[in-house]
Amino acid sequence: MAELATEQQILDGLAEIIDDIVGIDKDEVTPEKNFIDDLDIDSLSMVEIAVAAQDQFGVEIPDDELRNLKTVQDVINFVQKLQGENPALKG
């Protein structure tokens, strides 16, 4: 069940998803990393990661938003923002 996640929980969840989909070690996934330049993740893998993140965090990341999410921190901020806007996830 999705619930409001802390920044660290989102980071850990994202690192696990990335490890599962593209096999990058969890320790490599840190907030400042750029998906394309630092982690060598292409746009198709980003779509897969977005779908998995959707299942895990309960927020939809559409394709046109996905294009703007360049770094791990961008995704964390986006998930937190949408979770905050979702009344079902509030206390």
Binding site: D20, I21, D42, S43, L44, V47, E48, A50, V51, Q54, D63
Partner: protein, 322 residues
């Protein structure tokens, strides 16, 4: 006045006796395509997983391709043409909507006056046709069914559109389905997402295949694995017991994503797309034929089939390898 109609006695199960395939002679490499559209071997391999594909000749249409594959499946089954009483041809790349192709294919194969019709569920077509054949056999509507997926996608391609011409290809694959006391074709899980009807489309007779690649990729990598898992559950087969996973060969990245989510740790995953491209309704029987010919899967072992594509239509079932 009401009457009681007589119906045939139902049969417990249906099974696949044999497969057959046909790959057109002409091989088109990525480098060849890169000479006419802005693409590269490296880009196509990494994004789609295709190294080369087969393209049919001008004299090879849907019927011609189907006759080759159907004839091979028939020969492999050991049945005579006269034993077949239903022919189902599945295609989404016909050059003409009328007549349907199945009667002509049956005639060319020497099958006398069978039930014959075409079925269009795009890239899910083979799984739909197999389920229809199984149901017909079990209900007593047919004894032996020839199911053929035959596609000439090349005639609906814009060869200047690098987002589609690198993906789709031509070919045909077939299976012979017969009655069986022990079921060899599991329950089908089928469905559709009609809100995505315009994601893969040929808008009219003067147009070519158009595809919203990223939207389709998102749908396929998210929605298909649960369908595949449901087919396993309904057949009573644990994913770990599968010997093979044969998803529609849409894109190797989608194939790998589906396989990863099914978690069939002991299964070989079909990758015929590398050498055959995306042949729509023909891709699953083409892949299975190659796996069986190479001895990759033992006879009697369970394999998971899952088709998905334009519609958006999808279908999955577990079969026993003949």
């Amino acid at each position: 006045m009401t009457v009681a109609l007589r119906i045939p006695e139902a049969t417990a199960g249906a099974r696949i006796m044999a497969f057959g395939d046909y790959r057109p002679a002409r091989v088109v490499t990525n480098d060849e395509l890169a000479r006419t559209v802005d693409t590269s071997d490296e880009w196509i391999r990494s994004r789609v997983g295709i190294a080369e594909r087969r393209i049919a000749g001008d004299d090879e249409g849907i019927v011609e391709l189907a006759v080759h594959a159907g004839g091979k499946a028939l020969a492999n089954s050991g049945l005579a043409p006269g034993d077949i009483d239903l022919v189902i041809l599945t295609t989404c790349s016909a050059e003409s909507p009328m007549p349907s192709h199945a009667p002509a294919v049956a005639h060319r194969l020497g099958i006398d006056a069978p039930g014959a019709f075409d079925l269009n569920a795009a890239c899910a077509g083979f799984c739909y046709a197999l389920a229809t054949a199984s149901a017909a056999v079990r209900a007593g509507s047919a004894r032996n069914v020839l199911v053929i997926g035959s596609e000439k996608m090349s005639q609906w391609l814009d060869w200047t559109d690098r987002s589609t011409c690198i993906i789709f290809a031509d070919g045909a694959g077939a299976a012979v389905v017969t009655a069986s006391d022990a079921p060899g074709i599991g329950p089908v899980v089928w469905g559709s997402a009609g809100d995505g009807f315009d994601k893969i489309i040929i808008p009219d007779r003067h147009s070519f295949i158009q595809q919203e690649g990223q939207a389709v990729f998102r749908w396929a990598t998210g929605a298909i694995a649960p369908i595949a898992l449901e087919a396993c559950e309904r057949a009573g087969i644990a994913p770990a017991d599968l010997a093979a996973i044969v998803p529609h060969q849409a894109n190797l990245r989608i194939v790998e994503a589906v396989a990863r989510k099914v978690k069939a740790s002991n299964a070989i995953v079909a990758d015929d797309i590398v050498h055959s491209g995306n042949t729509s309704a023909a891709s699953i029987p083409l892949a299975l034929s190659r796996m069986i010919e190479r001895g990759d899967v033992p006879s009697g072992a369970p394999a998971l089939l899952v088709g998905f594509g334009a519609g958006l239509s999808y279908a999955a079932q577990v079969i026993q390898i003949p």
